[in-house]
Amino acid sequence: MNQSTPTEQLIVPYGVVLCGAARRLAGVSYRDFSTKPEATAESYLCAYEKFGGSVLAWTDLSIEAADFGQKIIYPEESTAFPDYTDPLIKDIEDYRKLKRINLKDAKRMQGVLETIRIVLNSKRFEGGSIASLCLGPLAVLNMMRGAKRLFKDCVLYPNEVMACMETITEVLIEYVEAMCDAGLMNVALDTLLASWSGLSRELWEKIEGPFVREIADAIRKKQSLLFIHNCGDGPYFDSQIKFMEPMAISFAQLPDDCPDRKELKRRYGDQVVLVGNISTPLLSYGTPEEVMAECRVIIEDLAPGGNFILAPGCEFPPDGPFENAMAIIEAAEQYG
């Protein structure tokens, strides 16, 4: 994984992480991008043609929850989201009532798998690499219960929450295995709530840790590379490494035990590939020069010694200017 020695020129791999923004290249509405695999695939093929590198075949946070039966709203020009006025898990009793679903009938997850197949089989994608993302079971539950209720339930009714997590995890294992079978070399797990803005470290280790370990093991058994994505405030790198042993962690904010990027590099740089952490607000409103300046600082902090991929802290802003995506690539080439 090391990309350089101190005497060599640094090579800085990069990822632009165009997801929702990719649809603009193909002239596709957000609704179609989320629900029509052909439109999704076309978006990613356009993104690959324009920016090269790898693509992340993922559309929004509601994919898994939709298949469990959560009602989802699909705006024409914005990210899909659950109808929080009508959560699938309405009461504590509903946690144990959630039914296991059959992956072959899971329309949206099948849509992601179909997208992967279309992209990988396209001649336009020669030389490209593709990854995808699966929400951790707690994040799926978040979509079906609502954050406020779920957070409190984790403290007050942990056994009910965990019973439901077991059901969700069985399906997610099948889903990530199918992703790997479809040809993915990288699968990312989103463990957003393993952060200061989610649950406490102890509670997360109890509630979600054992379940994501099972999913991580399933990905490794398929010989795929495991990434973690966590764009929460103060992510718990140590707990996530303990439970999932990922190859890489994509992050937006510094871990809760690191005051700055240099300490992050010192503490975790030889354990995982660090992927990040260009500010997404900056990518929305900044100039390409400002983006390049930020990239330069990040490269200086995190690239020495390798184990680093320059990337946004979360997906590239769906409405962000493409000049700023290009600035990431230029920065990787110029300052690497």
Binding site: I73, F81, V155, L203, D256, P317
Partner: protein
């Protein structure tokens, strides 16, 4: 320690440790004993403030704050349901909501509960609020503060127009913005007076921004 002090400590402890049974018991004793409502309120809020500060220093987490907020609300509601008691004199009038197209209201809801607990007069417009409703509410409520939230980069772009129109109709209103895709620079770019980085520090940020704006107008 006097009996009154013990009861007030119990109230603080009930919120800190989210113990609703202790809260109900101590509250009944406090009211029956004729302890002044201002003292009772101070103890309940003292408990909430300790949870808030523990969260700021990573000693507790968001779920615990949410539960403590519920217990605080329950305690204050019981207290102010007593005849003749009112939450606060000359409360700060505040309008808050999540911008149009955005359903994510966890942060906004936490903030609303904190504001209400600490005596703000809150007009909560909810989530997915169109510009016109913000502007109308600012005018009707003669709002001292307008707080806007957005959790999506696709929806935060509604903010500059809301800010512009709210300013035109009520130049004295202090405007705060917050949410995951924003930062301090973007808040300034959008024309807001302040940026609320975290629900936990919202009180301090609001007070700081109001003070700063008052300084500007002197």
């Amino acid at each position: 320690m006097t009996e009154e002090t013990i009861i007030l400590k119990d109230l603080e402890s009930a919120v800190l440790n989210h113990d609703d049974q202790l809260l109900n018991k101590a509250l009944k004793i406090a009211i029956d004993a004729g302890i002044q409502s201002v003292e009772i309120r101070r103890s309940i809020l003292g408990g909430l403030d300790r949870v808030r500060r523990k969260l700021m220093s990573n000693e507790t987490s968001l779920p615990e704050l949410l539960i403590s907020l519920d217990i605080t609300a329950q305690g204050l509601e019981t207290l102010f349901s007593q005849e003749g008691l009112t939450p606060a004199k000359d409360p700060v009038s505040l309008v808050i909501g999540v911008v149009e197209g955005d359903p994510h209201d966890l942060g906004k809801n936490i903030i609303v509960q904190i504001y209400k607990s600490f005596g703000y007069e809150v007009c909560d417009l909810g989530a997915q609020v169109p510009k016109e409703r913000f502007v109308k509410a600012v005018k009707e409520k003669n709002a001292r503060v307008l707080a806007l939230s957005a959790m999506m980069s696709t929806t935060m772009t509604a903010m500059p127009e809301i800010i512009k129109e709210a300013r035109a109709i009520s130049p004295g209103t202090v405007i705060l913005v917050g949410g995951a895709p924003l930062d301090e620079v973007l808040a300034r770019t959008y024309g807001a007076d302040g940026y609320a980085e975290s629900a936990v520090t919202i009180l301090e940020e609001t007070e700081r921004t109001i003070t700063r704006c008052m300084g500007k107008t002197k």
